[in-house]
Every structure is written in structure tokens, then in C-alpha cells.
Symmetry: C2
Subunit: 229 residues, 2 copies
DNA sequence: ACCTGAACACCGTTCAAGT
DNA sequence: ACCTGAACACCGTTCAAGT
């Protein structure tokens, strides 16, 4: 009897919701959204599919919980600096990177299931914007703009990354491919896309993203509607 | 023999890729992303699943084609007005409404498969921004900001709509529900979210969206870095 | 060239039965 | 209370066979 040996056959830990979510995240990270399956999940947990349903209602709840855990972790890691602007930049970049390395987080956040984890981001962002001295009336608009910008650009960037990975290319190789494809489009129908193909080749997603955040932040500073009514 | 009668049993039209995409769009609109199935699709087309695979490689291609058709239609409908700004607003609002009434378009655009239909939007937006007289250097950044904003807010809005529908509520009822949930959050942990709960109740997604677009457009006008270096 | 439809490997979910 | 694992209804995809 080798019971107690570090075998993966017999579960030593008792099954718990947290443990299930933890392994779910591992699976999602390893093999994407298609990689999370009740069958391989229960295999890794050395149990049957039914056991998971004792702790979790359905797959949607599992995805939401995984996303929520990921977001909570990211929010924590983005230490609340002294200057609110630094906090905002850190939060934005933190989410950008989180979505980049865990693309499934982006999809869940964009889906109806993602509304709960979203509140975490809303809150942290909101506190920082408020600390910035933005008027009560403008806070909602500013936070909304930041949130949609972060999720929009983050998601788009992650989509690029996934496509690149699927074709076995790294970032620069992939941008190169897309750029040449754009250059090959019909000059009459796609003049603009052709003209920016070169710019695509040597741009930096992360830097562009931060530039956008700074643009929004700079917009907060300016005496709105005074200089340009 | 009732052959030729308007029965749905025997197909009269010959099967074609366009016809398949057309029916796919109907299914997606009727019952969401889960509603598109090779089984019900082949049923509606009065054929077998294998027949569809003659015209289409896989489900991903089907989704891309459906999304592309939808985007192309939207781009056409947003008539190119005389003033570029009017065109931009019309394009933005057109995509917002398209994603709102066809949420699956948003998901496909946000996924790796959506990169092809995306070029259509990029091009139209780009031509308008160029017509606005934006310098070559700034065009890429401006179009990128507009694109991510449109997709970000549009997707978020569609997610809200889907959640509302799933709970059998209309827009105002749903916002009411979310607002009261936000009000019930822990005052210590969620001060900001609680404080904006009221604002959520009586806000207008479409108006807020347009306001954001106008903000970006106004930003183009201002002599950048001159008044506020 | 185009279509048919049975078959395959898989999926989320359920549930009687065990401890 | 918590777990087991067979069973159910479904899914995307394939493919020999027909016309």
C-alpha cells in the first residue's frame, strides 16, 4: 500500500470551491478557453464530474469565479501609490498585461458573466479618479471612458496575440504578416488601411495603450470647455 | 405529388455559401451564439450537416462570414455624409446599434476571428479621419482610439442588454436592479461604486456613447500640446 | 461537383446510488 | 454532507457512398 505517496491518483486535499477555481485557472492558462472541461477538470482533481457540481452550479459560474479571482489578484498587485495618476496608470497597465497573458479574462469580462468582476475594476478606478479631484458630476464619465478604453484595447491586443500564437508566430512576425496583408489590399477600396500598414509594423501595443491612458488623464486636467467652448 | 408547393421539406434553392451565411445570421439573431448549430442550420436548409462543410471549412469561418456581412451592411448604411465628422458619428452610432441588436457581432469582433471584418471599420473610419485633415502622424492614433472606444463601449452595452434579457427585464428595470445591488455593497470596500449607483439609474447608454465620441473628436480639433504642453 | 446521413469523439449536465 | 460514475442529450466534424 503506497497510500500517502505523492501520487496523483488519490486526492489528498478535500475538494473545495477554491481548489476547483484554482485548477480551472491553470487549465484556462494552459490551453485557452477550450481547455476548461468538466472532464479534464475532474481528472486533475482526481474525482468525477458530478463532484464539481456539488460546489459549483455550472460552467458559467466557474468562468466568472476564475475571472473574478484573476481580477482581484491584479487589483491587489497594483499597489495604491501616493499619486492617484500613478495608481490609475498602474491599474490600467495591470489589466492590460493580465488580459494579454490570460486572454480568457478579456472574453469573460466582455460577456454578460463578467459584470460582477467588473465592479472590482470600477471601484479601484473610481477611487483613484475621485482622489484626483474630479468633480462628482464628471467622475462617472471619466471612469466609464477609462474602463471601456482599457477593456477595448486590452481585448483587441489579446485577440492579436491569440491569432499570432495560433499561427506559431511571435509578436513582430505577426505584425509583419498583417502589415504585408494590408499592403496587398485593393488600393481603391482600402487606401487608408494600406497607408497605415507601415505604421503597424513598428508600433508598440503597450506604449500606444499607455499613451491613450495619458491622453484621457491629460483631458481631465484641462479646464474643460473653457479654452474651447 | 405536391412538389413545388411552398413546403419547407424540399429545398428549391440550390445550396450556396451566401445562403448558408444568411440563414446563420437569422439563427444567431433569433437565439444568440448558442443558437447557431450545424444541426439546426442544416435542418433549416433542408439538408445534412455534411453539405454545409462543402461550402464552409468550419464553424469559425461561418461566424467570421456572418460578422463580416453584418459589418459590411452597417458600413454601407452609414451613408458618407459631406462633413467627415458627421460620417464618423454615423459610423460609430451604426456599429453601436448593430452590436446592440446583434450581440454576437461584438463577440466575433473581439475574438481572433474578428480581425478580418475589423479592417472594414478601420478603413471607413480612417478615410473620414483623414478627410478631417488630421496629420499623417496622428491618424493612426486617432483611428485606434475611436475603434477601441466603439468596440469597448459597444460590447459592454451589449453585455448589459444580454444580461437584462436573460433575466426577462427591460433596460430601465435592469439598470434599476443593478443600481440597487450597487447600493447594497459594503460601504468600506465599495464607496465609489455606491456613490455612482444613482447615476447609473437614469443614464442613457446611447447618449453617453455619443458624448464620448464627441469628446475624442473635440480632442482632434484642439491645438495639441500648445495650450497645455 | 455537389450532396447525403450515419458515425465518431467529445461536450455540459443529471441523478440514483454510495459513504 | 459530500462524492461517484454511468447515462443523457447534445455538439462539431468526418467520410464512404451516392447523384
Amino acid at each position: 500500500m503506497v497510500k500517502g505517496a505523492r501520487g496523483s491518483q488519490r486526492r489528498e486535499e478535500v475538494l473545495s470551491r477554491d481548489r476547483i477555481v484554482e485548477v480551472s485557472i491553470e487549465l484556462l492558462d494552459q490551453s485557452g478557453e477550450g481547455g476548461l472541461t468538466f472532464r479534464v477538470l475532474s481528472e486533475r482533481l482526481a474525482t468525477g464530474p458530478g463532484a464539481i457540481y456539488w460546489h459549483v452550479c455550472n460552467k458559467g459560474e466557474l468562468l466568472t469565479a476564475a475571472c473574478d479571482a484573476m481580477v482581484a489578484r491584479t487589483m491587489e498587485e497594483c499597489t495604491v501609490g501616493i499619486a492617484p495618476k500613478i495608481t490609475i496608470r498602474s491599474l490600467a497597465l495591470g489589466m492590460f498585461d493580465a488580459i494579454d497573458s490570460h486572454p480568457w479574462v478579456g472574453s469573460v469580462l466582455a460577456s454578460p458573466e463578467g459584470q460582477l468582476p467588473m465592479v472590482r475594476i470600477l471601484e479601484r478606478l473610481g477611487q483613484a479618479v475621485r482622489a484626483l479631484g474630479v468633480s462628482d458630476d464628471a467622475q462617472w464619465a471619466v471612469v466609464g471612458a477609462l474602463l471601456s478604453y482599457i477593456l477595448g484595447v486590452g481585448g483587441q491586443n489579446a485577440a492579436h496575440g491569440q491569432l499570432a500564437r495560433k499561427r506559431g508566430l511571435d509578436r513582430t512576425e505577426f505584425l509583419e504578416t498583417v502589415a504585408t496583408m494590408w499592403s496587398g489590399l485593393d488600393p481603391d477600396e482600402y487606401p487608408f488601411t494600406r497607408s497605415v500598414a507601415g505604421r503597424l509594423r513598428d508600433h508598440d501595443d503597450r506604449a500606444d495603450f499607455l499613451a491613450g491612458i495619458d491622453l484621457i488623464l491629460r483631458g481631465i486636467d484641462s479646464p474643460r470647455g473653457l479654452a474651447y467652448p
